[in-house]
């Protein structure tokens, strides 16, 4: 439960405002000292790699060199080449991630609502339902995705049933399609959508909903005007927690897709390991990071929850 709430409480939407300056100087420097490990960690494992990534993305091949030999340079063309070659995969990644995020929202919101609002006052039931949401994390998500592969296999009963009711043509299939990739993404990131929304809804004051009824709003209007806006912080963090990793994900595409569903993560992997083209792998990573940053800040700005960033 504490983990669950922690996900939902972005700075600014929780009650945890720092105690005012009454504690004085000593308290503050203590806080900075406590920050040191975190800062050191981030410098070592985030700042350095990002700088290395930026530098690598501008490297040029050693003239006459062997495979994988590059030297420092300012080869801006790496970006042009990477983007012009791989924009389809980049676009596909964002489309898949977006579809999966919307699907996860449509599935996750009702789940979160039931757990947070309907099951309120019944802690045991609530706890059980939350465990059910989190339980998949107890096994590796790769194993679970491989399980999906078998559930959706051509010879499986799922495909047989879908063919029988003519939802799939007789030679239709589910695995090795973009549809399966989006389903996999939705499934794998569903808890990341559900839990933050749950955390928001859990604090929903039922009296506000009652007030909506008192003011002659029907259930849909009350939901749209009261419940949904109050749960927006959860919705925003849920969509971010789903969209960002989903756009960089490639496990689902590797396992459930085929060579026409390639996502940008797969391309980066293959540039790096198969072709030993480190600069273009780095350039693609930088572009992916920048694109996500832009998309996310535009989204957060629009949904009016800047304080989350």
């Amino acid at each position: 439960m504490t983990i669950v709430s922690a996900i939902g409480h972005g700075p600014g939407n929780g009650p945890a405002s720092p105690p005012p300056a009454a504690q004085g100087r000593r308290g503050r420097s203590g806080a900075y000292l406590l920050l040191l490990p975190g800062m050191a960690y981030l410098t070592l494992f985030f700042v350095f790699p990002v700088v290395a990534l930026l530098l690598t993305s501008l490297y040029a091949p050693v003239p006459g060199g062997d495979i994988g030999q590059y030297q420092p340079a300012f080869e801006w063309r790496n970006y042009v080449v990477a983007l012009s070659s791989y924009w389809p995969q980049m676009l596909r990644s964002f489309l898949y991630a977006l579809t999966a995020t919307v699907a996860a929202f449509l599935i996750g919101y009702p789940m979160a609502y039931v757990i947070a609002v309907r099951a309120r006052g019944r802690p045991f039931l609530q706890g059980m339902l939350l465990v059910l949401v989190i339980a998949p994390f107890f096994t590796s998500f790769i194993l679970r995705t491989i399980a999906w592969k078998q559930i959706l296999a051509d010879e499986s009963f799922v495909v047989a049933a879908l063919r029988a009711v003519q939802l799939l043509p007789p030679d239709g299939r589910l695995t090795a399609t973009g549809f399966a990739v989006v389903c996999g993404l939705t499934y794998n990131f569903l808890p990341f959508m559900t839990l933050p929304i749950y955390a928001s809804l859990e604090r929903l004051d039922p009296r506000l909903v009652e007030a909506g009824g008192d003011l002659y709003a029907g259930a849909p209007t009350t939901f749209l005007r009261v419940t949904l806006p109050l749960s927006m912080p959860g919705v925003v963090s849920g969509t971010l927690l789903t969209f960002i990793p989903a756009s960089g994900d490639y496990v689902n595409s590797v396992l459930l897709g085929n060579n026409t569903t390639t996502m940008i993560g797969q391309v980066i992997d293959s540039r790096f390991f198969k072709v030993a083209d480190y600069p273009s792998a780095a350039a693609l990573s930088v572009v992916l990071m920048a694109a996500i940053l832009l998309l996310v800040s535009a989204y957060v700005r629009r949904s009016g929850t800047e304080e989350l960033l």
Binding site: F48, P49, A52, L53, L55, T56, Y59, V62, G65, D66, I67, G68, Q69, Y70, Q71, S85, Q89, S140, I142, L143, I146, K149, Q150, A153, D154, E155, S156, D171, R173, T175, A176, V251, V254, L255, N258, N259, T260, T261, T262, Q266, V267, D269, S270, R271, F272, F273, K274, V275, A276, D277, Y278, A282, S285
Partner: protein
Amino acid sequence: MTQRDRRPPTDPIIRALQRAQRSGVVSRRSVLAGGAGIAGMGALLAACGTGGTPGTGGAPTPAQDRSQDEKVVSWANWTLYLDYDDVTQRYPTLEAFSETSGIRATYSEDIEDNDAYFGKIQGQLANGQDIGQDIVTLTDWMAARMIRLGYTQELDKGNLPHAANLLESLQDVSFDPGRSHSLTWQSGFGGLAWNKQAVPGGLRTVSDLWDPSLAGRVEVLSEMRDTVGLIMLDQGVDVAGEWGDDEFFRALEVLDEQISSGQIRQVKGNSYAEDLVSGDALAVIGWSGDITVLNFENGENWEFVLPEAGGTLWSDNLMIPIGSPHKANAEALMDYYYQPEVAAEVAAYVNYICPVEGAREAMEAIDPELVDNQLIFPDDETLSRSHVFRALSPEEETRYNNEFQSVIGN
């Protein structure tokens, strides 16, 4: 039980986990596989952090040999690629080596993927540093790269009297004439495999894979040299000979066509074996050893052949990295495994093509049934129908790899 663990180069994490899943129970295999997956991920992260940019200076110089004082040797190999006793949890042949030679051998199943492993060790090798391994086991084309870059030490034939047992066909390979830097560990075939129930007529040529009745149920390997190589052979090109861009791109065009038309369901690494079991794939371009294991574990349901136009033949090679301070010890270990009796013992476990002359005779005593197994002891006829993909220049390798990756969607 080992073949399919051999060469699935798509993604180390996924492969490791697939293996874990396949074995069903939490056994040594799955634990190792999981660990390897994590290690692979670590390698990726580490490589990303440093930008993966090796030094550009001249070739590194070999390390001083301290074999006389330090009676140890470390060997990095692929998973399940050495005889292993599940009961005692030991490697019988390796223990015997340590006992007779007095050299303590450390064996690690470090290698999950040629490219990924190379990415992990390249930085140290370029600087002539000790990578902690005295023997590494890598596939032909990667061995070629290692030797070309000067990342391996020259073998002292005086320490390798049994190396003369190397099969004649493997003695003079284009990437290492006279075998001065490498020795074959095991070899295998790339060819056609199919589900005997679904494809009762079987397959004879690579073109048979493009039959409309198999639409969407065909898979081919993500290993360029096997998939493109087999198509080239189908088009009458000798992959071992002097071919050029025209031949390569003609084959690649076929691949492109079959992927875009949907005939090929997927291009993947070792995990095609799973799709054969699940029924998603009915016919594949695959590796000989995998099929033996599939049949062993899931009933005699699949068949493997070399296509009429010929199949591909690849080998993994033992090499001593440039920074290894235990060269003489490493040579002693290599020599030990070139004794026919020892080689036969390994072959009976790993089920790959044994590169040691005389091992076939020695196999009589171990498992007479395996003596005529064409996948372990192929006869001249079989060998004449298998071809080693010719060595590529660095420029070619980069360009072909680029084109191949783009055709398969990457």
